[in-house]
Subunit: 289 residues, 2 copies
Amino acid sequence: MPPSAATPRPTLLIIGGAEDRRGRASILKRFVKLAGGRKARIVIIPTASSFQDEVVQAYAEVFTRIGVASWSAVNPATRLDAGDPAGVAAIDDATGIFMSGGSQLRLSQIFAGTPLGEALHRAHRRGAVIGGTSAGASIMSEFMISLGDEGITPRQRSSQLSRGLGFIEGVVIDQHFAQRQRYGRLMSLIAMSPDLIGIGIDENTALEVVDGVRATVLGKGGVYVLDCRAAITDAPDARTGAPLLVSNAVVHSLPAGATFDLEKLVLVDFVEKHPDLDIKMTIAQSSQP
Amino acid sequence: MPPSAATPRPTLLIIGGAEDRRGRASILKRFVKLAGGRKARIVIIPTASSFQDEVVQAYAEVFTRIGVASWSAVNPATRLDAGDPAGVAAIDDATGIFMSGGSQLRLSQIFAGTPLGEALHRAHRRGAVIGGTSAGASIMSEFMISLGDEGITPRQRSSQLSRGLGFIEGVVIDQHFAQRQRYGRLMSLIAMSPDLIGIGIDENTALEVVDGVRATVLGKGGVYVLDCRAAITDAPDARTGAPLLVSNAVVHSLPAGATFDLEKLVLVDFVEKHPDLDIKMTIAQSSQP
């Protein structure tokens, strides 16, 4: 939705990496549509990548192919450069901002708490779509997963939490989820911080989040929501590397088309179709006052 | 516990494959202890394997090294051979039976509903320990996972259910769980049959099950319990190969030392330590009568 719309709805398009760019590019087409279609003004941020020029060229090509007339790149090299007024102006004028893959730590180093980062937040609030793939996906949360090991087994200290940009609160976003076997690292992280919700996104798959709450899956793979609010864990005590006890985790595996409420942590479609349902998420609770 | 004990407790030692046989062999030592220690009379069943002679030799070596004086092998080549009275007599006399890895379909073809299979059930009821690794683990349930694909994503028709031997009811056991990324295939299977419980066991890890209920983890990896009783799924309708919707699955990741109640589906230790807790497993229920 372009920023000129009557009621701007802050919208994120969070992509799990390896989106089909050369083929049908359906996820990137959705990004362009959310940014206003042919009239979109898109800013590409390749800062996470080690191949920034190639990244800008590749996304410029596909956005142009989709029909976008106006794009630019914003690419500060250091935290000091993130005060650049031209970059701030470009972001302030954009209807869509796209952050590439690479290292999410590079993004947070340069954008968190700088004038360019503040411009991104202004853009988000006024309804410009913020898109990001891989590192550009993880950076969107308040705190993000920045490092970790592969595997299904949740293990002690198998992942690390760092500061993100904070377009969405209360969640941690992981990407390349099934492809790089990141179930264990995300579960271990959520077990340790049970009031955070884990969101794992597969490659060539995206989660479109409106108002920080209503999340719809698109693309070829799945999105996973890991909820340890009622879990029992030995995370405070386990040895480094040991498999963690995480009992009573609630897991949602969501394919394309599923819409999920990130506040209530329930399937929106299902609840709308079954208004008589009383969804009880509390698994373990004291029967004493 | 040897069959001569006052109250025989049917005991299973379900191993996720690749148990450390040449090193400390702690899981196989536990098997021998449950079978009566040095006085154990162990029957090795290598029938699942394509290398049956080597398998018998390898397990005979390690059991002898642990101190077992008496072992034999029972290895019918066809379903007709599974009436062999000598094999039946060996199983009827055993204090422990160990089934090797290989193909669980080969085991079910030959043992299910034959005199040797009936002898295994008698052995289980009288308290001889039934051990099995990999294929020998999966075969233990009433119905078993027999084929499937790798990956974290639950996909439509990514696994198949076949008849097992039925020493334990209401569960489906998968093995090499984290190592071969079997989370998705087991979840898809449980989503389709939500009154079954999925149990995934890592390599060099085992679940010791007493009376079909009390299950304790031992070994290096984790055991995973997947519970879709309250899940919402599109499994009846999804296209072949498509990622499945499975919302509200409850997942337990259990390390060595954890004891789990397979009937109530809660952590035993935790419940015993917190008698005031009221564990509510119902996630979605109608508020109407």
